[in-house]
Every structure is written in structure tokens, then in C-alpha cells.
């Protein structure tokens, strides 16, 4: 049984570290902010999660393991929130996503939004094509 825990936590730790590195490389190579957020949040949730669970296994069933899982729960809870707030702030700041093919506004057919939206949303310029959920 102990051997199994050793192997499992070893795998989790190295895997988690690997995912973190993948996320970091993504952070550097991605072209624009939005894809970078995508890469960064992967490491926050998966990479950190695996490392923390690996450590919790190592610590054995005591208070430290509980604390580690609490840190994991806090991280899982707050990373998406801060990621969301970041992207919302960036979008309202007017940062555009870099699409691979430059679209010119005329020839792109923007599907008419269904009527249920509040008037103020549609009053916001046509170029904001995608749906802006509040």
C-alpha cells in the first residue's frame, strides 16, 4: 500500500510540474491576451491541483493534508474568478482578440441577436459581435 502511495504521489507531482511548465510555455508563445489567459488558467487548475494532491498523499491522513486540500479548494474557487474579472476588464479596456484571418467588418454577416437582450446591450456598437454576458 505504501509503495502505491509513493508511486501515485510521485506521478502526480511530476505530472503537475510538467503541466505547469506547459502552461508557462503557452503563456509565452500565445499571440494575444485571451489565448494566454487560456494557457495560464490551465496551470492554475490542473498543474497546481495535481501537485497539491500529490503533496497531500505524501503528508498522510493528517491536518496538513486537510490544509493542502483547503488550499486546492481555494485555488479552484478563485482562479476562474480572477481570470474572468481579468478578461472582462481587458475587454472593456478595448483589447481585441487576434484572429488568424483579418476580417473586414462589411462582408462579415453578424447574426441578428435574439430580441430577449436588454436594449442597452444592442445599443453598444455593431463591432462588439460576440455575446457580452454581464
Amino acid at each position: 500500500m505504501v509503495l502505491f502511495i509513493e508511486i501515485a504521489s510521485w506521478l502526480l507531482l511530476v505530472g503537475g510540474a510538467g503541466f505547469c511548465i506547459v502552461g508557462a510555455i503557452g503563456l509565452l508563445r500565445m499571440p494575444d491576451l485571451y489565448s494566454r489567459t487560456h494557457a495560464a488558467t490551465i496551470t492554475d487548475t490542473l498543474g497546481a491541483g495535481m501537485v497539491l494532491v500529490g503533496l497531500a498523499l505524501q503528508a498522510g491522513p493528517n491536518l496538513t493534508a486537510l490544509k493542502l486540500l483547503m488550499v486546492l479548494a481555494f485555488l479552484l474557487y478563485t482562479s476562474p474568478v480572477s481570470g474572468h474579472a481579468l478578461v472582462k476588464a481587458a475587454y472593456s479596456h478595448g483589447i481585441k482578440a487576434e484572429l488568424d484571418v483579418p476580417i473586414d467588418p462589411q462582408q462579415v454577416q453578424i447574426p441578428e441577436r435574439p430580441a430577449r437582450d436588454a436594449p442597452t446591450d444592442s445599443a453598444r456598437g455593431k463591432e462588439g459581435a460576440d455575446d457580452v454576458s454581464d
Binding site: Y77, T78, V81, H84, A85, K88, D134
Partner: protein, 346 residues
Amino acid sequence: MTFPIEAIVFLFLLATALAVTHLRDLFAAAMVFGVFSLLSAGLFTLMDAVDVAFTEAAVGAGISTVLILSTLALTDPREHQQPVRFAPVAVVLLVGAALVYGTLDMPYYGDPTAPIHKHVAPEYIEGAMTDFGIPNIVTNVLASYRGYDTLGETTVVLTATVGVMLLLGGLGGARHRGDAEVVEAAGDEEPTPMDRVQVARVSTTVLAPLIMLFGLYVQFHGDFGPGGGFQAGVIFASALILHGIVFGLSSLKRVVSPRFLEIGLAAGVLIYAGTGVASLFRDGTFLDYAVLDHHSAQHGRHLGILLVEAGVGITVTCAMVLIFFFFAGRRAAKSEEPGDRDRRVA
């Protein structure tokens, strides 16, 4: 075995410090400064200074970044281009050379035979075990052996808050309307755009009580593990500040009014000094907790340390929230420019 990690962390520290100096965009500099504080807290953990790491993370990375940002919200975030001036470089090189010259006769890093480990430290370590029975030696020395230092420290927090209240008490500079109490005036503005963001609001309502609970845990766990009055105070305050950031000052004012905070600020220091005076009346010297309990000195010391840490926790909590009030309140006053009024309503 932790040497290679410390070396790499030092590299990061050097990089971030240089970045803070050279980044002309002040927002970016503030962010990198937050990273620098968090990294230095990490370094302290590697150097076995757990309580210092705790405080540096909570105070350095948390509160000072928030304060710098709230000042930047008022000022223009671009720094002027500046040629490198050589007088400061000369001064800095001179001071640095003097310091390095001074370290030549110092014992090596981590050398157990250094004079500081031989003279006073051993008494502190086994003193904590024998006549105090408190596992966390740092909290023990902080509150009992050098309790007077910590009283001075709490008074420093009180002084800084009184200073900020005096300087930022009035509503804006001469240009602004009347001298109505800034915090009341800032309170009645309509909800900030932030709290229309559903996600941030929901997450804070869930998180704030948990953070406060964690603050209480740190306050009373201070004797056994890393923690204590200061750290607990800052964590408690960050829960309230988080609420203030997301829900705006008006709701934070309803949760805890500035008047109450001012009384709490003074009460903390009075509790601390009061414990000291109590031991005066029982003919022990000032801040001598042993006399607080007749039959067992150890119990008296436990009681003394508990009271003292509680006093520190209350003062630091009220101080941090008050300072945030006056900085954030100031920001609302600033954006009350006539030009903004219509835009804000739209």
C-alpha cells in the same frame, strides 16, 4: 539542501527589483512590486523565518500593493523619461562598498558558532519550553521577553493611521466642494460598476466569511504555529477590504462604520498597555504577565500573551481598514469632478 532554490529565488528577486526601477508604466511597476514582496516572503520561508514570511506576504504583497494602486488610481500612471543621473549612482556605490566591507568580518551565512547564536538565543529557545510552554518561540519572545517592543510597534500602527486620517481627513484639496466628512460623502454614491459583475460579487460573499474565520484561526493559533496578532489583523482587514473593493465603500461603511473603527484602533493599544498597567498594580514591573495570575506564573503569562495578541489584532484590523477607507474614499472624491458627474450616471 535548500541552497539551489534560494539562489534561483534570489535571481528572480534581482530581476523583479531591476524591473520595478526601470518600468516606466507605474501600474506594471506596482504589479511587479507585488511579485517582489511575494517572492521575498517565499525566500523567508526557505530561510526558516516562517512568521516573517507570513507577515511579509499578508502586509507586503497584500496591503502595500493595494495602497500603491489606490494612489495610482488618483495620479497619472506614466513616469517621465529621465536620464540616468550619476550622483545617485556614486552615492549608492559608496554605500554598497561600505556595506560589503562591513560584511568581511562577519561569520559565514548559517555558521552555528556565530556570536548571535551563542549569547541570547539559547535562553530564548529553552526558556520558551520550560517556563512558558509555548511552542512558537517567536510569538513568545515577541509578546513576553520583548513585549515592550511590540507595544511600540502597535503604537507605530496607531501613529500611521492617525497621520493618514489627519492628512486625508478633509474632502480633497481646496478645489473640491465643502468640508463635509469625506467618508460619508463618498458613501452615498451609487454602486460601483464592479459590483454589477455577478461573478466577483458572488465569490466575495462566499469567501469573505471564510477569510475572516481563517483570520481568527491565525489569531489564536499564534502560540502553536506561524501566526499572531499582526498577521491575523491583516487577514481580517483584507477580508473587509475585499468586500469594500467589490461592493463599494457605501456597503463597507454599513458593515463597519469609521467611527467604530477609530474606537477599535484606540481600544487595541489600550488593551495592550492596560495589560501592562494591570501587572503594575500587582507590583510586578510594567508588562510582567507572571503576576497576573496568583497561583501559577505560567498561566499568568499565557493569559498575558493572549490579551496582548488580541489587542494587537484589533488595532491592526481597524488601522488597515481605516487607511483603505481614506484612500478609497479619496478616490471617490477625486472622481467627483464636475466633468465626471454626467458620465458616471449614464
